[in-house]
Amino acid sequence: MCGIIGYIGRRDAAPLIIEGLKKLEYRGYDSFGVATAGAGIDIAKHQGRISEKGGSAAQLKGKAGIGHTRWATHGVPSDRNAHPHTDCSGTIALVHNGIVENYASLKRELESRGHTFRSETDTEVIVHLVEEEYAKKPDLLAAVQAVIPRLEGSYAILVLAAGEDRIVAARNASPLVIGIGDGEFFAASDMTPVIEFTERAVYLEDGDTVSLSRKNVEIYSHGKPVSRPVELIDWSLEDVRKGGFAHYMLKEIYEQPLAFYNTIRSMDPAALPEEVLRASSVTVVACGSSYHAGLIFKYLLEEIAGIPARLEFASEFKYFPPPVSGLVVGISQSGETADTLAAMKYARSAGCHTLAITNVLGSSITRAADTTLFMRAGPEISVAATKSFVAQLAILMQIVNRISDRKCDEILLQAHKAVEEILLMDLGEAVRVCEKAQNIFYVGRGPFYPVSLEGALKMKEISYIHAEGYTAGELKHGPFALLSPETPVIALCMPGNTYGVMISNIKEMKARGAPVIAIGVTGDRELPDIVDLFIAVPNTPLFTQILTCLVIEQLLAYHTAVALGRDVDKPRNLAKSVTVE
């Protein structure tokens, strides 16, 4: 995720863009840059925070400009990889939010035609393609429209060219909104940087290209002129940042389908080295939610790929002798989790190949690992992990898929659609049961056991209700004593080899008077009759079932916490990343 903004009008563009980028920093903040257009193109770009280094960029002259704040995906955070990127002549500048999936082949093609690349980004191919079209016919809009069909993936782009008194924009599957001012126009990833200047917004659709001049905005849909409605935005700045959601957590829950899909797509076949693909055994070290992701991975890897996997809390790992061989996987959203970092270094010193899974390019864990895989979740603001967890699962599921000869490619590419359906479900009845409870049990079997653990963690961390996850089988060995009509049980009961025994476990729990909320699949005839509340998810393959159950648990925890008036985004006593051991 990155943030982009463009301005054309009567004011100096650079200071306005710098201020705007600060408001977009929640979308990424490892580097930033600005380009302004006059007779030529002037560019200032830096690795680092805008608040520290934005001063010089704000000095650029010109009444039209584009800016970018980056969350690295292709290429580490550096001055060179920061946007805007330029063509070979330096007269066309471009900023981009999204991922060009076919950039590698485009880059080879462009290099063979003599283009010189200055960065490691996927973005730079776009500007060189525009350069070629522009050389044929000096019309920036036509050039961008000619390039669009060649790009695969997601993008919102803004382009400037020397001597063209306009900005050309295009979007596909990345957000882009046009702000309509008085004799001035804005284009940005969202209204946050724009709302200070105008409340009138035009939201673009996929396939739209736009020309913003000082006089007007022309919008084209797949090359044909189109008019889009002007909407009046009532939101405050904070509202805009939350995208109209009441909390960041809910916004991030809703971003999960895209985060999963983007992460799945981002892992090209070359991403996994031989040490991973041929690993004879795998050890996973993680904390918190990441530990639960690791446990799901263990179940899937052992069952589907037949590779033995071991899982340890990162904080406990050092108390065991290190594995003598094999792969060690460290999972940390922030890449700074102290325990996980220490465990990775310990494993590496013992001669293991180390693989890091993180959301932050250039974070400490990437330096402690031999190989790093990045989640495509974008910055996560809410303390409770949601989309980063789902992005971790995307990576781990893709690893299982690759190791087991890619039987599940199609399943993984379709999974986000089932999650989108789940987001529309009404969980009101279940919330009313949970909000009254002092204790809640989460039970499941097989890979749904860690899903239960994660569901319980979400519930306790944001609603402050005591919640525990158990394997349904272990419940009888002690925790059964706690069951009563006051302790609701959330049971995950999916079709497959755990189904029959889950049904008997649920009956045993019912016999102790515990109210049971079951998550099962649509069309299940037996389960709805024996439980108090039945929540149906679509009947999908295992990978997708794990996601749908998880998202229901997140939503249940979120709505319960809201019903109890909790501070959802900043639960008491917790910090986003734990950088002490």
Partner: protein, 399 residues
């Protein structure tokens, strides 16, 4: 010459009437306050306007559009976060092309005075006199030049005040750029003028007529004065048995039913239902789509669009927002037994007679009693028989 109208602020002193609109769009004689000012300026010979808008800008844009309906040209400059008058002036840099007229959007002026004022050399400040100068910027004048300007002083040195009307040259843009935030954290235009004042370069013009509308109760005076000029006209239906005294204007689609008695000056908007047997006394203005029903008496009040005062009600010396509904028998007091000035939320209205300030969409049950000086927030709801006094917040539910 271009005229810049400052209309970006909410006008917090007008709350709760500003919930849905900026102060300058509040109605006086059934037109937005600012329209009277803009038309007077147009009649003084100016046709190019720049409106600095922010709070509630969509209301202003929707009403004025490009100005063609009024025979003028309007350019807008958005000042979405109001950081003071100097910041507002900064927002029109590059939009004005020469010496220009700058005015606050919330005052009432005569067109002849504006025509006279714009003949003066810039820079020049419009000044006026008042009996409560402590609420304004107090000026000291010597040889028609401002020699000192003091904001909202507790001990004003004169009764001459800054009227909020200026004639400025393009030099002002360099001056406003140098302004530092004031004690209240705003970029003040008057700070930009300090240099001109020190050099005795800021001229003055005594406005023969000037009225600013600071508080809701000031609206009643302004409403009355603006209606005096209105000769009255009838576009709607007047049934037999209706008595009209003095100038009365009735809009299209409105019907005055039998037994209704109206003492002008009075303006009734479009599509209103009045009567039967309603009694409306002067200087009352009633917006569009209102219902003033059987045995209801209204006196010297402003009633905005869509409000219903339908049966056995009394409203006097009050300002009432849009889409309110009065239950049968609900009445408002407008005079204290000790005949002292009415106070609103502790502020002296300097009026012996004043009723209530009622926001938008307020719902009264039957037989509510509204005491003098009550302020009722928008969307408040009252159970039958409620006694209402003091300041009631937005969205309150009183039972």
């Amino acid at each position: 010459m271009e005229c810049v109208v400052l209309a970006a602020g909410e006008g917090k002193r007008m709350r709760p009437l500003t919930a849905k609109r900026p102060k300058v769009m509040l109605p006086l004689a059934n037109r937005p306050m600012m329209e009277h000012l803009v038309l007077a300026t147009r009649d003084a010979g100016i046709s190019d306007f720049i409106f600095v808008v922010g709070y509630g800008e969509r209301e202003i844009r929707a009403h004025f559009g490009d100005g063609s309906r009024f025979g003028i040209r309007i350019t807008y400059a958005a000042q979405r976060h109001q950081q003071g008058t100097a910041d507002a002036v900064r927002s029109v840099r590059d939009l004005v092309t020469g010496p220009f007229l700058l005015m606050n959007g919330d005052m009432i002026l005569n067109h002849a005075d504006i025509a006279d004022f714009i003949q003066r050399p810039a820079p020049c400040m419009g000044i006026s006199t008042t009996d409560h100068p402590g609420d304004y910027g107090v000026v000291l004048v010597s040889d028609d030049r401002v020699i000192s300007l003091e904001e909202k002083s507790p001990h004003p040195k004169s009764n001459l005040i800054n009227a909020g009307l200026y004639l400025l040259s393009l030099d002002i843009f360099d001056l406003v750029d140098r302004v530092k935030p004031s004690a209240r954290g705003e970029l003040e235009l008057t700070d930009a003028l300090a240099g001109l004042i020190a050099e005795r370069k800021l001229g003055t013009y005594r406005l023969p007529y000037w009225m600013d509308v600071g508080y809701p109760w000031d609206m009643l005076d302004a409403n009355a004065i603006l209606m005096e000029k209105n000769p009255g006209s009838i576009a709607g239906t007047v049934e037999d048995g209706v008595t009209l005294k003095g100038p009365v204007q009735v809009g299209e689609g409105s019907i005055l039913r039998s037994g209704t008695y109206i003492e002008g000056p009075c303006i009734i908007g479009n599509n209103c239902r009045i009567g039967p047997h309603a009694y409306i006394r002067g200087s009352t203005s009633i917006g569009d789509d209102c219902h003033i029903g059987y045995c209801t008496e209204i006196k010297n009040s402003i009633i905005m669009t869509g409000t219903k005062v339908p049966h056995f009600n009394y409203i006097g010396d009050s300002v009432i927002g849009t889409h309110c509904n009065f239950g049968a028998g609900t009445k408002g007091a407008n005079l204290r037994h000790d005949h002292a000035n009415v106070r609103v939320c502790g502020k002296d209205t300097r009026r012996k007679k004043f009723g209530a300030i009622i926001g938008d969409n307020v719902q009264f049950g039957i037989n509510c009693s509204i005491n003098v000086g009550a302020v009722i927030g928008s969307n408040a709801q009252f159970a039958p028989n409620s006694f209402i006094e003091g300041c009631i917040g937005d969205n309150a539910s009183i039972r």
